[in-house]
């Protein structure tokens, strides 16, 4: 059999494809490892921030600063909002957003959570909650560009504009 110059044999092509698959898998593995590690570090910071916030609420402090984790969301549950699913002009379903399982399982009626995303299910995956009667206008506050200052007025939490 003649091996022409510049011609890739099926065997070599297969090797390249397998190598690409392996490299992609390795990249995926390392990326997921990195994010898993980062998320667990952020969760530790989140727990400390929420505990500090609730302590300050209980101590009737007028305001509190939250420094981390960046991009996470502080929310009170249940949100006084409903989730609507539309198909063009047709309303398919309308459900009132309930509590994250974290709070439900502990038998709390209302809770305050700090989660990576302002989503009931995702809050269970990566979040931390404490029992609280506090209220937040709009249900949630994102920790964007920390530090953020939260004003506490009789259990009502509002973000102070910078």
């Amino acid at each position: 059999m003649k091996n022409r110059r510049g011609f890739l044999l099926a065997e070599e092509t297969l090797k390249i494809v397998i190598a690409l698959i392996c490299i992609s898998f390795l990249i995926y593995l390392l990326t997921s490892l990195y994010f898993k590690n980062k998320d667990s570090k952020d969760l530790e910071l989140a727990k400390a921030s929420l505990e500090h916030l609730v302590n300050e609420i209980n101590a009737k402090a007028p305001s509190v600063e939250i420094y981390n984790p960046k991009g996470w969301v502080i929310g009170v549950w249940p949100h006084d909002t409903t989730k609507r699913i539309w198909y063009y002009l047709f309303l398919l379903s309308e459900t009132k957003i309930g509590l994250p399982k974290y709070c439900e399982n502990l038998g709390w009626d209302r809770c305050i959570c700090i989660c990576k995303k302002d989503d009931q299910d995702k809050c269970d995956d990566l979040g931390f909650c404490l029992e609280s009667d506090s209220k937040i206008e709009g249900g949630a506050i994102e920790i964007e560009k920390p530090p953020i200052t939260l004003k506490i007025d009789g259990g009502e939490i509002t973000k102070v504009a910078k």
């Binding site: 990195y34 590690n37 980062k38 667990s40 570090k41 530790e44 910071l45 400390a48 921030s49 505990e51 500090h52 916030l53 302590n55 300050e56 101590a59 402090a61 007028p62 600063e65 939250i66 420094y67 981390n68 960046k70 920390p146 530090p147 910078k162």
Partner: protein, 277 residues
């Protein structure tokens, strides 16, 4: 005649000495503020562990809420511990009572700053290493060590001039040298600038690390010690001797410990805060 079971004088004295000694030991344990030291030591250990770890460990540093008190309470502030200032100091020929009290306040703040510098490895260790986007964009990681508030009696003293603060840092001894040298590695006080301390305000003691990214410029640190980064690099020996090796000239390294008004924290443009609330 000695009855069976009766205590002799010697036994009685030994027993009393034992009980008194035990009481003294208990008193010392509860009054030495061991809890406060432990938090700082936990932080210091986690910083060292992270710097030695290949994959990067977890920092376990908590912000200390400190009330500097002249006898009262710091209102609207849940302090972790209180630093008491003696408000009844006797004036001397050279110093007034107010100067002596202000000196005590500045010493308390200087101690917090020194503890902060020690907790985060005195600028000799890289505690923010690891792979993330900042390798490209650059970052300025801030580590808040303490939040300081003053009680009403201290507030009445008004403010403390920055030159007075510098003088306290030079006059007070830390180990074999001055606080100023321990914190900044130089003796020339004209190269470091502080703002006046307004005793009616809340302050933050912090340190940090600035890193220049692969493409992006280093995060601006002009407001850190009221001086530019190149100047900072040129005079602080830590920057020269302990420059982190990863990127050599692309690194700006550790930021010296400083004290800032709580309201002015945004001016520092920190990209991340790494201490727990």
């Amino acid at each position: 005649m000695k009855r069976k079971g009766e205590l002799t004088t010697q036994q009685l004295v030994t027993l009393i000495i034992l009980i008194v000694s035990f009481g003294i030991i208990l008193f010392l344990i509860f009054n030495l503020g061991l809890g406060e030291t432990t938090n700082k030591e936990i932080c210091h250990n986690s910083v060292l562990l992270k710097s030695k770890s290949v994959v990067g460990g977890v920092l376990d540093c908590k912000i200390n809420y400190v009330c500097i008190s002249g006898g009262g309470k710091c209102e609207g502030f849940n302090e972790d511990y209180t630093l008491d200032i003696d408000m009844n100091l006797k004036p001397t020929e050279k110093k007034t009572k107010e100067d002596l009290i202000k000196e005590e306040i500045m010493k308390a703040i200087a101690n917090e700053m020194a503890d902060c510098w020690w907790m985060f490895g005195e600028g000799k260790v890289d505690y923010v290493k690891g792979i993330d986007w900042s390798k490209i964009t650059g970052k300025k990681v801030c580590a808040i060590c303490s939040r300081i508030k003053f009680d009403s009696e201290i507030k009445e003293l008004g403010s403390i001039d920055s030159s007075f603060f510098k003088k306290t840092l030079i006059d007070s001894k830390k180990g074999g040298d001055t606080y100023f040298y321990y914190l900044y590695g130089i003796h020339d006080v004209s190269k470091v600038n502080f703002e006046d301390i307004d005793l009616g305000e809340e302050y933050i003691v912090l340190t940090g690390v600035a890193k220049k990214g692969f493409f992006g410029a280093a995060k601006d640190i002009d407001n850190w010690l009221l001086t530019g980064v190149d100047l900072l690099n040129s005079w602080i020996p830590y920057f020269k001797e302990h420059k982190m090796a990863d990127y050599n000239d692309k690194e700006y390294g550790p930021l010296p410990v400083t004290i800032k008004k709580k309201e002015d924290i945004d001016k520092l443009t920190c990209t991340d805060f790494i201490t727990k609330a």
